[in-house]
């Protein structure tokens, strides 16, 4: 942290891109962050190599995957995590479901971060009426309960994978807008920005050379934490039956399809449930550690 020189004590590390290696090495020294990172890597590998690892095609309704009475099978040596109500292999569906979670987690969150950062930076940098309009709109969107808003949006647009990602992005950008707004405002008032503008630097130069780089650590932290929120929201929407629709497997819709049978086939809820928790936990742990490493002053509720 030798570069954190802000005189008013807000320790912000510049040049996060160049210091990625340092950040990573500090990250893996924390046991919890390392665990989180490991979970993420495993899920990414599972998603990428799903076709190679999966013992069965995810959509194939196997004859031997059901009992004679037509009930799903509990975990055994053939079906490691059991089968679902249609006799499909649960492990294979979970592996393919990892793709859904990650795609939505990354796409939806990427869009949310882009919108949020754009709104927050513009409002913080330009101030005045721009800031007034943008931040009041952000306040307005924050007044809606995220899930209800997502439900309404999902009901309007017939959900496909990408629509679900878009819906989640439209609900989730507000937090990052607020954070980048506050951060940009405090940066814009700093002495070094003033000095720069006294030396004759244009506004564009100040924005891109002096403010944006300082925002990167904050954005990185919130982008990581945001993936966790996104994964949970996707799972919840899919569980309610308005997110990713079957037959595309998603950890949420696997539970949605089988919830009424959870007393007789608890593995159909347990394994996808654990998968969701682990992935969200992984991003939360890494995000929290990143916040400690990159931006020690920003400890708070969110």
């Amino acid at each position: 942290m030798t570069l954190a020189t802000a005189p008013d004590g807000a320790g912000i590390t510049p040049g996060a891109g160049a210091r990625l290696g340092t950040v990573l090495s500090r990250l893996v020294r924390r046991p919890l962050a390392l665990f989180g990172l490991a979970v993420i890597v495993i899920v990414v590998l599972a998603a990428v190599f799903a076709p190679l690892i999966a013992p069965f095609p995810p959509d194939e309704q196997l004859f031997e995957g059901l009992t004679l009475e037509g009930a799903p099978l509990p975990p055994d040596s053939t079906f490691l995590l059991g089968t679902d109500l249609l006799g499909r292999d649960l492990l294979s569906r979970l592996l393919y479901g990892a793709r859904t979670s990650l795609i939505i987690g990354i796409v939806a969150n990427g869009i949310a971060v882009a919108i949020g950062a754009m709104v927050g930076v513009s409002a913080g940098f330009f101030g005045g009426i721009v800031s007034g309009v943008l931040m009041r709109f952000t306040d307005l969107m924050m007044a809606f309960p995220a899930l209800l808003l997502a439900i309404v949006l999902a009901a309007i647009f017939q959900p496909s994978l990408w629509i679900v990602a878009l819906v989640i992005a439209m609900v989730n950008w507000t937090q990052i807008a607020r954070v980048t707004y506050t951060e940009t405002r405090s940066l814009a008032e700093r002495d070094f920005v003033e000095a720069e503008s006294a030396m004759g630097a244009g506004r564009t130069r100040i924005l891109f050379r002096h403010i944006m780089p300082h925002l990167l650590p904050t954005i990185m932290v919130w982008a990581t934490l945001g993936i966790s929120t996104t994964v949970l929201l996707e799972a919840t929407l899919s569980y309610l039956g308005i997110g990713v629709r079957p037959p595309i497997p998603s950890w949420g819709n696997i539970i949605f399809e089988s919830q009424t049978y959870f007393t007789t086939a608890p593995w159909l809820v347990f394994f996808p449930g654990v998968a969701i928790i682990l992935l969200a936990l992984g991003f939360n742990l890494v995000g929290d550690a990143l916040r400690d490493i990159l931006d020690p002053t920003q400890k708070g509720r969110y």
């Binding site: 007044a143 809606f144 209800l148 309007i156 919840t236 742990l285």
Partner: protein, 306 residues
Amino acid sequence: MAAYLLRRLIQAALILLGVTFITFVLLYILPADPARQIAGRSATAETVNNIRIQLGLDQPLYVQYGRYLDGLLHLDLGRSYLQKTEVTTLIASRLPATLLLMLGAIVCELAIGLTMGLFAAIRRGGRIDQTLMVISFVAVSAPQFVVGILLLYVFAVYLGWFPIGGYGSFSHLVLPAITLGILGAGWYSRMMRSSMIDVLRQDFIRTARAKGLKPTTVMAVHAMPNAILPIIAMIGIDIGYFMSGIVVVESVFGWPGIGQLAWQAIQRVDIPIIMGVTLVSAFAIVIGNLLADLIAPLIDPRIKLR
């Protein structure tokens, strides 16, 4: 204070007006045609058209919005398309159940969260601290429907300690309240921990210890109240999380509140109900945030009013 209060109230009112506009626009562009929904599949085009005129759906947008706002001023949220009942009546009849559930959730999140945070702070850096903080991370990473279904399985189906769902007695409340409160408990335990650590570092605690007070007295009388107060001020903000949570929790446990009402309405495209619940939720959130903003400076005079 009065000027600040006035400004915050005006701000809240404007946000609420914006909320009504957005809900209106969102639901107006719902592709499913409500008139056809009500009339049923076999209805003739004429019947559908009559219903459309009856409901005022043939009027231009701004007329509909104006009528809607006018109704709101008289607490009139419109009439359910399918149940033929006033939405206000439906929400009012289900609100007690939701409020009870939220109250239970607040008790759970405070009881669990504050206790965990307290012990973590006292044993700061130790194994207990680490374990508790891992638990708090799991709590904020677990989707409510998974928590709900797992609790149902273990405590209702397997152990049989609580009913599988429904409403009526205290034992019906326990599992849904825990499910709704667990997320908050995770946040509160982390806040309580850092708040407690903050307080324990301060001079008056050192003075209390130097006076020779027993460690438990220092904790219970001097440290804890000061650590808890700023956290209590944040309960208002929880309403946002609760309003999302009730849709899931109430549908998992068959709890007859407004979350379940909204969920049923969404499946039947009963627009006035969805709008009503969304509006009521947004009102609750805006008022909750307003309260949190107003209470915080009362509790901690160092917070400046802006």
